[in-house]
Subunit: 199 residues, 2 copies
């Protein structure tokens, strides 16, 4: 079991069988993709029968939605907690550092969350999209504040917001634990993102 | 048919049936993922029988390998052609601009190429990895040159190379034609990447 799907991260999911199904689904989606994963595959990773899976989740899509919702909420919480510091530069550095380290540490769930969005139902996608907008807004706000104080020069606010988010999110694509320490990577990316906008 | 899988881009693939299979495979892999795509699905998109597919390709993996090889070679060609200009700053801007615009324009193939690497056979992966190293080396070289001339300050060469590549590659994840013009996006990202390293 990887650190990513450690039961500790999912303590809020009760009972334990539902939690095992969720972590089994993350591993299966990450390995084979959502479309190629069967409910039988997920159930067997959780040591259960396919019929027992349906006691907890009505569908494979519902599992993806729970994972996506949790992943997006966790990423937004990380950003909100990191939005601290006396200046916009301090806040931006703290935000990028925490967001990058989170994507390194949780690269498996982040990959599933980012690459399987198209498999969500329209209703579930809409719910996740609301959180995605809040994530963007958190970065956009600090860039706006820094531009207002004159600390930052931002020529294209939505484009630069997307670029800052991309830096962190793309970590999930290439990250493997032997390649970098999440904290060190966070600090480097905080520095690069700050340089991207400093006046 | 999308611009991405336009037959023009694949003119080098002969005969036409092999080309139709390749573009069918790109669309299928992008929509459903490599694991969930069957050779029957690919053949039917090409208007052929599964048996006819095997005349041109021994396996589904072989199709992925051809797509991955072509995608990586095309991206490397774009970088090599763009590595021009009197100063490291000019070269970096030209490289990032071209690489970003390429990932926007070819987002479907870029997604398949980047997200399905794990499905390649070890031998095929090794061949693609050689081109990936050449792509990184192209960025790393201009950063090294800029640091040598004193135009750039680069505190972590491999980390900064990866960040510059990430900016462009992550475009493939979120890009849709209504969101940005590939050329304008390339110019913005060239500016941001240059700011990341300028002394």
């Amino acid at each position: 079991m990887s650190a990513v799907t450690s039961p500790l991260v999912w303590e809020h999911v009760q009972p334990a069988a539902a939690r095992r199904l969720l972590t089994g689904a993350i591993d299966a989606f990450a390995e084979r993709g959502f479309q190629a994963t069967t409910t039988r595959d997920i159930a067997s990773r959780a040591g259960m029968s396919p019929a027992a899976l349906y006691v907890h989740y009505p569908s494979k899509e519902r599992l993806l939605f729970e994972i996506s919702l949790y992943g997006h909420k966790a990423a937004l919480d990380v950003l909100r907690s990191a939005d601290t510091g006396p200046t916009p530069a301090d806040r931006l550095r703290s935000l990028v550092s925490a967001f990058t380290a989170w994507h390194a540490r949780h690269h498996t769930i982040a990959r599933v969350v980012q690459y399987e969005l198209a498999a969500l139902s329209p209703e579930h996608f809409a719910e996740v999209a609301t959180i995605r907008r809040a994530i963007s807004a958190q970065i956009e706000q600090v860039l706006t504040d820094g531009a207002t104080t004159g600390d930052f020069t931002v020529n294209d606010l939505p484009g630069t917001t997307l670029a800052v988010l991309s830096l962190a999110i793309d970590v999930a694509r290439w990250y493997t634990p032997h390649r970098a320490d999440p904290e060190a990577l966070g600090k480097l990316y905080a520095d690069l993102a700050h340089r991207m906008v400093q006046a």
